[in-house]
Every structure is written in structure tokens, then in C-alpha cells.
């Protein structure tokens, strides 16, 4: 406790003495809230403290949602200097609540965009320090034992072969998965995108609550295929797990970010860390086997091992679509809730319907029947049906703003959507089974 008082007192003293003298060498405690694992934070801590003797990096590990909540709850007496996490939308939330401090990094060699995504926030509130793309990760041993083909595209995961073999984190729980879902929706359009997602979802083994739950299950071989952010797979490969990874063509690379918290107690230290992480030295840390993220400084790739993906050069990244952050921001809650109510909490119904469709199609492949084919198409449409169109999605968000605005209550909407899904999945299952009987 004494230690803590001393450190805090020192930090306070520093703000008074140092004031705005940003040129002065950073010292004292720099407190950072992050969702990154120890494997990521430890090397940075070590390198940063070596580069700035006198400064210590104090890491508070929280998952992204809890970190945002924490910063919000403690704003009155803020003790945190930096926020460091993957999902850009978490930073959008912080920015929206005016919890971030603008800053202009001095680091050079960083392009404006990665893929088609701007690396830094246009208002200078947060900065990309590494890039990540979304894709499909699978366990080779599992795939061999279950005779799974290598997946390449999202649509591949909808094939009957993958039934009950795929895992995903709930987008409401994982910022990165949310971006994956949003990427598919933006890349394929609302209706087509949801159709793809639901066809995949019909093959889901489960929907996990933590982002890391998916790579963990794939690594240990409990699940064959996972929809994950690339570095999970790279880090697993670095740890010798028998896993592979592929970027589908509809995806995007987005930056992982760092931002300075408004009223940071050690602003000089915070700025020093931002500069460090964007510097060539800091960028090189990203190449460590336990971290394996894509640097934003193009020069760093010269030092990368062979086969390291380079989003600034590799052709597959060049055709990746543009990600509209604003569009994502306006409908985050609606998309996530739709996913939860139609997929996460209806998984049994959805899977049963999908299985019935697969069986009917298998039967049809042996013995065709036009009426049955029509029934299967109806069933597929029922599964893909959405309770609201894209235009309505933005309007529905009022239900998710809690007590601030009057309107439909979240629970009411959820119940409507869940009932919508449940009913249609049951109908789809009935139709598919009818089709299977006709085809027999």
C-alpha cells in the first residue's frame, strides 16, 4: 500500500512539476488498460522500460468490454493513461463519451491506410499500431480425423461436411467477431450477408463468450474450425499447435489501436509509450512469435520471417473491401442482438433446420424431385429470413440506449426477434423433412 501511495504521489508530483514540458524524458508509472494477453504485453513492457529508464509500464488486464466500462466508471478520478486493444469500435465508444485525449504521433514510415482502412482515427483520438485480418482457422488433426476439406471462403463453412464442426465467438462479446460479421454484411449486403452467416451458423458447434474461446477450442481439437482474427492462429502456430489459417476474399484488415485517456495522470509517459510502440523498435516487437501481429510500419516487414503476411504488399489484401466504420457504429447493438437472438440463443433450432435441409439435399442428389426442390428452397429462405431490413436496423437502435431515450424496450424487441427465428426455423425443418420424404 505504501508502495502504491508513493507511486501515486510521484505521479501527481510529476504532473505538477513537469506540466506541459513534453520534451522532458518520461518517468514514473505509465498505466495502461489492455485486453491483450501477457504474451503481448510483457515484451512491450520490457522493451519500453529498457528504452526509457525511469519509466515503468503498469499493465491492467481487462477484456475490452470491461476495460471500456472501467474507464467510464472511473472517469471522475481517472488513474489510467492509456487504452490498448484490438477492436476499433471500443475506441469509438470511448471517443463518443469523450474519454480520449487527442494527440499527433511523431513517428514516421506509417502509411495512411492498411488495405482500405485508415490506420489512425481521423480526429487523432486513437492510433493503429498493428493490423489484423479476419479469417478461418482449423485444426489439421481434427480435419483429418473428420475428413474435412480445407476451407477457403465463408461460404465453404456452410457445406454439410462442416456441420457441427465450426465455432465462433458471439459478436456481442467479441469486438473482433463483430467486425467479422459486419465485414460480411458490408461485403455481401444485408440480406445476402445474413444468409451467408446463417448458413454458416447452421453448422456451428457453439457460440463462445470470449474471443479466445474459439482459438482455444480449435487448438485443443475440441472444435475443428474457428472464425477468428489472424494473430490467434499465428500465435498458435508459433506455439506449435497443428493449426492452419486462411483469409477469405471477403474480409478486411483493420488496425489494432492505442489511445490516450482524457485527463491521463502521466500524460508525458503516455505519449512516450505511443511514440515507442509506433517507432521501428516498437514495431519490431510485433514480430515476436508470441505476438505475431502485422506491423503498420512497412519497413519492419524487411525483418519479418519468410511467409509473414504483409497487408501492404500481398495481393490478397489489396482486393479486401472497405470497411465503413460509421455504418458499423450506428447498428452495432442491433447486429449483435440479431445475431444473439437468431443464432446464439436459437442454435439448436437453427442447427436442426439446417441438418434437415442438408439431409433433404443429399436425398435429392440421389433422386431429384421438383416439388421437393421447391420445398428445400422455401426452407432455406425461411432460415435466411430476417425480422428487419437494413434500413430498419439503424432505427431499432433506440431500444438499446437504455434509460436515455423513450421507445421500445430492448427485451420486447428481443422477444419478437427470437420468436420470429424460432417459428421460421421450425417451419424450415418441417418443409425440409417433407422434401426428404418426397425425394425418397
Amino acid at each position: 500500500m505504501l508502495r502504491l501511495w508513493a507511486a501515486t504521489a510521484a505521479a501527481i508530483a510529476l504532473t505538477f512539476i513537469a506540466g506541459d514540458a513534453g520534451a522532458q524524458a518520461p518517468s514514473g508509472k505509465v498505466t495502461i488498460v489492455t485486453s491483450f494477453a501477457k504474451d503481448v504485453t510483457d515484451p512491450f513492457k520490457k522493451a519500453f522500460e529498457a528504452a526509457h529508464p525511469g519509466a515503468t509500464l503498469e499493465v491492467q488486464n481487462r477484456n475490452t468490454n470491461a476495460a471500456v466500462k472501467f474507464i467510464e466508471e472511473t472517469r471522475a478520478n481517472n488513474q489510467v493513461d492509456l487504452m490498448w486493444a484490438s477492436a476499433p469500435d471500443a475506441f469509438e465508444v470511448l471517443k463518443g463519451k469523450k474519454l480520449l485525449q487527442a494527440y499527433k504521433p511523431k513517428a514516421t514510415g506509417i502509411p495512411e491506410k492498411v488495405g482500405s482502412y485508415p490506420i489512425n482515427d481521423r480526429d487523432g483520438m486513437y492510433f493503429g499500431f498493428a493490423a489484423s485480418g479476419y479469417g478461418i482457422m482449423w485444426n489439421e488433426r481434427y480435419a483429418r480425423a473428420n475428413k474435412l476439406p480445407d476451407p477457403k471462403e465463408w461460404q465453404d463453412l456452410a457445406a454439410p461436411a462442416f456441420h457441427d464442426h465450426v465455432s465462433i465467438a458471439a459478436p456481442s462479446r467479441s469486438g473482433t467477431t463483430h467486425l467479422t460479421i459486419e465485414t460480411i454484411l458490408q461485403g455481401e449486403g444485408w440480406d445476402k450477408g445474413w444468409r451467408t452467416i446463417k448458413e454458416m451458423a447452421g453448422n456451428f458447434r457453439n457460440v463462445t463468450e470470449r474471443s479466445f474461446g474459439v482459438p482455444e477450442a480449435v487448438n485443443s481439437g475440441q472444435v475443428g474450425v474457428g472464425i477468428v482474427i489472424d494473430f490467434f492462429a499465428f500465435a498458435a502456430q508459433a506455439a506449435n499447435f497443428p493449426v492452419k489459417f486462411a483469409y477469405p476474399s471477403v474480409t478486411t484488415v483493420v488496425p489494432a489501436n492505442i489511445g490516450i485517456i482524457a485527463n491521463a495522470p502521466n500524460r508525458a509517459g503516455a505519449e512516450a509509450f505511443v511514440e515507442f510502440i509506433l517507432s521501428p523498435k516498437g514495431q519490431e516487437v510485433l514480430l515476436e512469435p508470441g505476438i505475431r501481429r502485422l506491423p503498420v510500419n512497412t519497413a519492419t516487414y524487411a525483418k519479418a520471417p519468410a511467409g509473414y503476411p504483409n497487408p501492404f504488399k500481398d495481393p490478397q489484401f489489396q482486393k479486401m473491401m472497405l470497411f465503413d466504420v460509421d455504418k458499423s457504429e450506428t447498428r452495432t447493438a442491433v447486429v449483435d442482438t440479431l445475431f444473439d437472438q437468431l443464432i446464439s440463443f436459437q442454435l439448436d433450432g437453427l442447427k436442426a433446420a439446417t441438418k434437415a435441409v442438408h439431409d433433404a439435399e443429399a436425398a435429392l442428389a440421389k433422386k431429384d424431385n421438383a416439388q421437393a426442390r421447391a420445398l428445400v428452397k422455401e426452407a432455406r429462405d425461411l432460415i435466411a429470413a430476417m425480422p428487419l431490413a437494413e434500413a430498419q436496423a439503424a432505427q431499432a437502435r433506440a431500444a438499446f440506449t437504455g434509460a436515455k431515450e423513450k421507445g421500445a424496450r430492448q427485451a420486447e424487441l428481443e422477444q419478437q426477434w427470437a420468436a420470429f427465428g424460432k417459428e421460421r426455423y421450425a417451419q424450415a425443418k418441417g418443409k425440409a423433412e417433407q422434401a426428404a420424404r418426397l425425394a425418397r
Binding site: 504474451d39 471522475a76 456481442s172 482459438p215 487448438n219
Partner: protein, 570 residues
Amino acid sequence: MTAIALTLRRYSAGATPGQIGLALAIALFLAVFLVVPVATVIYVAFTEKGTGAFTLVNFQDFFATDLFVRSFWNSIYVSLMSVAWASAIALPLAYLTSRFEFRGSAIIQTLGFLPLIMPPFVGAVAMTLLFGRNGTLNLLLDDWLGFKIPFMEGLNGVIFVEALHYFPFILINLSAALANIDRAMEEAAQNLGCSGMRLFRRIVFPLAMPGYVAGASLVFVKVFDDLATPLLLNAKDLLAPQAYLRVTSIGIADPMGYVISVVLIAGSIAAVWLSNLALRGKDYATVQRGGGGLSRRTLKPWESAAAYAVITLILLLVLAPHLGLLILSLATVWSFSPLPDAYTLAHYARVFGDSSLYIKNTLIYAALAGTIDVIVGTAIAYLVLRTKLIGRQWLDWTAMAALAIPGVVLGIGYLRTFYGVSLPDGTPLATLWIMIVIALAIRRLPYALRACHAALQQISVSVEEAAENLGATKARTVRRVVVPLMTGGILAGFVTSFSTAAVELSATLMLVQSNSDAPLAYGLYVFMQSAAGRGPGAALGVIAVLFVALCAYASHRLVERSEKKQGAVR
């Protein structure tokens, strides 16, 4: 608060000023560290969207939503089944070790206690590796016999893991109760022609009922409110995960998450209240506490072999997570195979430097929390069972309600309540590590409270009256007679609070402000978030389990020795 105080004063006939003061102090403690912080979070449940006015419409929504209704019944089903399975595991262990002369009873009891101190994350991870769809057992079964057993599928998985995790609550309480039964009770039944299982069912078990019910209600409430296990096993159609998911994501501004929390709290209080009701009016105090517990029979060789076989089987099952964890901590890569590809000690080397700090912090936090818990627990048990203060039951219920408060709600409540309070040097109160201790103490108070309550319930009032008759004041009677007689129960409470606090995560996660203040569970969580961290995380988990188990065992031995000394004097 004031209302309680007034009520107490008005209806305190027969109570000493000391007792009233004690009741007020405890009420204040609970109010400041439990009621107020939680109220700042869950009052939203009763407000109308948009206006903030008081309403119950949200509860109407709760019961109109299929998902919540389904979750509600699933939660009750899972809790009841977990109690049933936990009983099936705990009964033979408690019965065999307390009824028969057994080598290594203390070790068996300690091992039987281990599941409680399984740190979060790693337990379910290890169980999945062993019993999951592609776990060791199912891969082998599939290879040899061509089928798999769905241990871990859906609600079954939750019941399986929860029963293994929480059965020690029943074991501990039941063992303590069995040890307190006067031997003549059993002999009288034998004398009248009763023996074996019938004797257990008709006499021994009913007499041990207060202990069993205390344990079973803990298991029920604990499972009812647990969110870590269902979440890790991807069973989300349960109340606690629903509340947690909403509170920590898009539902954060929506009342429904808090409505579920209120339902959870109400359900837990109802369970405790029902268990109290079931035991009301049953005077199970056995007068001669010094008369020694049930007679221990020496087993014939074949009986002994059978008993050891049963115990070994149960222990293997309940210690499976620990075994899995140990293997994981030594494994290089363990993926889709019955056992790891190769073994290494590197993970231990990796965590060696960090672990001493974590262990030191854990020891301080958990020991302080455990101490606070047994003090407050004993005090509440005493007030409830031995005084006539009006409203004393509320202390009990309030403390028990802590069971049902999701850790994250308590964490947010603490931040809201105490972050604005600054120390003279400007540090917010909530950033002090002592707040972690208090949060842990509040979270684990129900365990200690139930143990102390059961212990005190079994002590005959006449023992105290004798002391008072010989000139001891109430306070001195408590100190010199009641507390020493309760030692066993108090210790059980301390060990439970200590051990489970040592591996507690959810409230800690919100309140840990710096790595140097972090306890073991937090360090473990940080490790377990990456592929390369799995081994080191497991290594840290093994260290945590060993360390907490050693502490628990040592304190067990210590008290056993002092009890023996007492026994010699009697």
C-alpha cells in the same frame, strides 16, 4: 440503516447493549460494502425506460420472454441436478471417512476439498480436454468401441462440472455434522434392530440434516448463480450467464440484465429461506458435545478394500480436473489426442518469477478475507441463533444474498461507490488493495456464515447457560465456551472462504489496479488468453492449487491438534 437501528432498539428486549452494538456494526458493514454498492447498480431494474420512474414492467418483460423463462427453468433444473449429483459424490465420502476407522481420513478429506479451489478457466479447460467431445476419454472410447459419451454436452456438461466443483460444500458441512452426532443415537438404533444403510437413512442422515441442508443449499445457490462454468462450456440458456452477458455488453444500459440479477438474488434468498424453514423447530443439538461423535468401526479387510475402491474412484473423478491441469502444465502441445505430444518443465520456469508476487498477494488477500468472514459469520450466527433481536434474520439473508450478486455487479458497484471517495493524498479509495480484500470477504461471507451457523446450531444452549450460571458474562461465554466449541465449524468456514477467495476472479478483475497488487487468479487469467500462455497458465494453476491446498491442510492439522488437546482435558 436508521430504520434497522430503530427497529432494533424498539424490539431489543432482553438483548444486551453489546449485542445491539454488534448487530448495528454488522448491519453497517453489510450496508456499506454490500447493499449500497449493489443498489447503485441494480436499481435500474425498477426504472422505466426514458423516464426513470419506478416500474415493474421490466419484470413483466422478463416473464414474457421465452429465453428468460427457459433460462429460469434451466437454472433451477441444473441447480437441482447438481445438488443431486454432488450429494451422490459427497455422501459416500463423508459417510466412509466419518463412520469407519480409516488410514488417511485427513488426506481424503483434504483431497475431497480440492475441487473447490480449482481456479477459473483452467478447470473447465482441463475437463474439456479429458471429457469433452474430443477429450481423452472420448477419443479412446471412439478408437476402441466406436462411440462417444456426451459428458460435456449442453446442460449435462454444466451439471457434471458443477457437481464435481461444488460437492465439497456438502462434504465439509456433512462431515462436520456427522462428527457432532452423539454415538448413543446410533447405538440405540442398532440396539433396536437397525443397521447398515437403513441406519444411515433413518437415524444418521436425519440427524446430520442441518449440515447437509446447509451444504446442499450452498450448492444450489452457488450453481444457480454461477456463470463461469456455463459460459466456458457455452451453455448460455441459464440465468446467471444471461445477466452477465447483458450487463457486460449491449445490455449494459438496459434494465433487463439487472432484472435478471434481481431474480437471481431473489431465487438465492428463497433457497436459503426454504432451507431454514425446513430445519425450523428441529432441535438437533446433541447435548453431550464432549461425548464423541459416531463410533468408528474398524473395517474387515475386504470391506476396507471395497471402501478404498469406492473412495479412489470418486477421488479420481473429482480430481480429474486437477489431473488434467497437471498434464496441461507439463504438455508441449495437446491437441486432438488422448495425451500431449511431449512433456516439458518450461512452463513452470516461465511462471516462476511472477508466481511469488501473486502468491504473496493471494495469501494476504485470502487470509484477510477469510478472517473477516469467520468473524462476521460467527457474529451473525450468534445473533440469529442466540438473541431475540428483531430483524436479526435480515442480517443473515442480506449476507447470504452476496452469493447471488454476480461478481461483476459487485465490482462495478464498488467502483461507483468508492471511486469518488478520495484519500487525503488524492488516491481513490477504490484503488486500494484493501478494497479487493473486502470485495472477496463479501463474496465469500455466505460460505463462512453457513458453516458457523451450522456449528452453532449443534451446540446446546445449556452449555452456555452453564457458563453464565458460573458467572461468565455473555461476551466472555462466547469467547471462552462458544467459540472454542465452534472451532471445527469456524475452521471449515475459514478454509472454505480462504480457499475459494484465493481463486476468485470476477470481482477481482474489476478491482485490480496494478499488476503488483494482483492475486493468482488474475495472473492466471492474463496467461490463459493466448495460445502460448496455456501451458504457463496451467502451471500457475497447479501452483495455486498446491499452495492453497497446503494452507488448507496445514490449518486443518493445526486445529485438529488443538482439538485433541481440548479432548484430553475434557
